[in-house]
Symmetry: C2
Subunit: 345 residues, 2 copies
DNA sequence: TTGAAAGCGCTAACAC
DNA sequence: GTGTTAGCGCTTTCAA
């Protein structure tokens, strides 16, 4: 096995094997038909020269780069890195690599990435769009989402007015069930902390409202507070605000995985304990949650990732498919952070 | 702005602008010299046609794909995703994209990725090698690390016998200081939990030993226990083992970021509190650590990532540079988990 | 089953 | 400052 000649090409292999480069192409690309004899000779030459095909050249000719891009807020977020982990695993199985693009939850960066992705002839895109409810995608960028001619699947969040495949958790339903659970324990004044701008969070709030209404509890809008995504320790500040302005609160319901740790800091500061002083329920499981015995709605992120990749490959095989929404189940892990409110006992 | 014609090429732009495609190349690639007039015409045509250059074709011709690959155990690990975050940010600034490759701490996967990376003509590689101390890289794969002809920088861990650029924390020194700190509080029997197989962890253990020896404390090898990387809740099991077999322990020193949460579960189970029942010191800061007031050695992961990218670009510019090791400072955040041992008071 | 030739979209070399 | 030409390494006709 000779190695290290930077550029062993298909011609070298063809020469050594005594066949044409077309035949070599057939063997290594595994298409067309080749006699067993030729195949053998080619395989030997490949091994001898330690030949690896040039993916770039293949891509230029075949219009497939065997690459998918994942565009999301930040790989540091636990939802996102679990998602990427699952996506990369699935992609590798199919011989695809994954390009990672952080938008820092910034629309300009997202657009920059999408343009770049087009440049790179990526075969497919999985996107958690930055888009926040109410904002409108500037008209001149719509084509990046709609007519990119690259298969694209949204994960977690959608963009209003853009019909794309979407994979997300059953946010509304899970939130409804969780709220029902709190109500069943006797809670009526449940504070909510979440980043309201995202469609996902809005769905969760809808579920929360529906549960309250169904139980005949008046919905008090001031109990739902909005956490700006980027702010550090915003959860702590908002928890403080809620607890001060609403002494009637008996439970806190946290809708973002990034917020819960921060909320706990405030509870600690105030020497409040769950479930005795306050019940606490949150989204997304973390080391924290087990240690603090926090009742949690778990998203099956890996399944979301797998489904997104599966759908993406379907779209890559047939670009005429109509957009579909897939909603993945969630699970509520009941630990010890929720109990009957004191006043109720 | 016309959009969506899948394949607007440099020829189309040249035709519309009334110049040769070489001139268009000069404008969009920003090399050579072009008259202001031509530049204007080209720019207009580019906008008019919504032209984006084909990175694949550029790559084939210019032998640069504007891509770097990051190969590491798992993006789910917090050290790893902070690193990737920093790397991607730096790479983007320079117009490079990042391919993410998880090895699942498995040598075969790592080798598979490196071969694939060669196929893809990636411009540079940042690698946290799977390699564990004592194991030897099979001879036939050495060339993947040594003669790949692609600039490569190791992060965090090195491979014995392979001279590569390496960026890592000052593991030995930081560990020495941390142990000194525990000793200064009066601790003599300090249990250590870490995944011994990695060079990084071995350096930390060296620092621990040096501090003990310098203070005239006998090093008891059975106080250092080895956590297998992959096992779930291994930290908990090992903490239990240490506490049972060594009632003389007054402090626990945890060397891996993944282990600490697991160790805390065991302390909780045994109703042991820090620092009253036991002192606790750990590597890598986490939400957990602030909430539990755990004294922590913080690695500047983002700086490590930035340095690795910087070095990689130096190597890409000049492949003759000699391998260097960069050791990045750490910081010890003193919280409340360490105090004088009870027996000492 | 196989080979020759064309060409994917671009950049580099050279001429003017 | 600009255009012409060749060709990166491969796949895809097409013809044999």
């Amino acid at each position: 096995m000779e190695s290290n000649n930077q550029t062993v090409t298909i011609d070298d292999v063809a020469k050594l094997a005594g066949v044409s480069k077309a035949t070599v192409g057939r063997v290594i690309g595994n298409y067309g038909s080749v006699s067993e004899k030729s195949r053998q000779k080619v395989m030997e030459a490949v091994k001898e020269l330690d030949y690896v095909p040039n993916t770039i050249a293949q891509g230029l000719r075949s219009h497939s780069t065997k690459t998918i891009a994942v565009v999301l807020g930040s790989i540091k977020n636990s939802y996102c890195n679990e998602l990427v982990y699952a996506i990369e695993k699935e992609a590798m199985k199919r011989g695809y690599n994954v390009l990672i693009c952080n938008t820092h939850e910034n629309l300009d960066k997202e657009i920059q990435h999408l343009r770049n992705i087009r440049s790179r002839q990526v075969d497919g895109v999985i996107l958690i769009p930055v888009y926040t409810v109410g904002k409108v995608i500037p008209e001149k960028y719509r084509h990046l989402y709609e007519n990119l001619n690259i298969p694209m699947v949204f994960v977690d969040r959608n963009i209003m007015g853009i019909e794309k495949d979407l994979v997300q958790s059953k946010n509304e339903e899970a939130s409804y069930e969780a709220t029902k659970y709190l109500i069943s324990l006797g809670h009526k004044n449940i504070g909510v902390i979440g980043t309201v701008a995202y469609s996902t969070v809005q769905d969760r709030i809808k579920g929360y409202r529906r549960a309250l209404q169904e139980s005949g509890i008046a919905v008090n809008a001031s109990l739902v507070v909005d956490a700006e995504y980027s702010e550090k320790h915003v959860g702590q500040k908002l928890a403080a605000k809620l607890l001060e302005e609403h002494p009637e609160l008996t439970a806190l319901y946290v809708l973002n995985n990034t917020l819960c740790g921060s909320v706990l800091l405030e509870l600690k500061k105030r020497n409040l304990h769950t479930p005795d002083d306050l019940s606490l329920l949150t989204w997304d499981d973390d080391d924290l949650n087990e240690l603090f015995d926090i009742t949690t709605i778990v998203q099956y992120v890996e399944e979301i990732g797998r489904s997104a990749v599966k759908r993406l490959f379907e779209l890559m095989a047939d670009s005429q498919l109509k957009a579909e929404v897939q909603r993945i189940d969630t699970e509520m892990i009941i630990r010890k952070s929720c109990a009957e409110p004191k006043a109720f006992q």
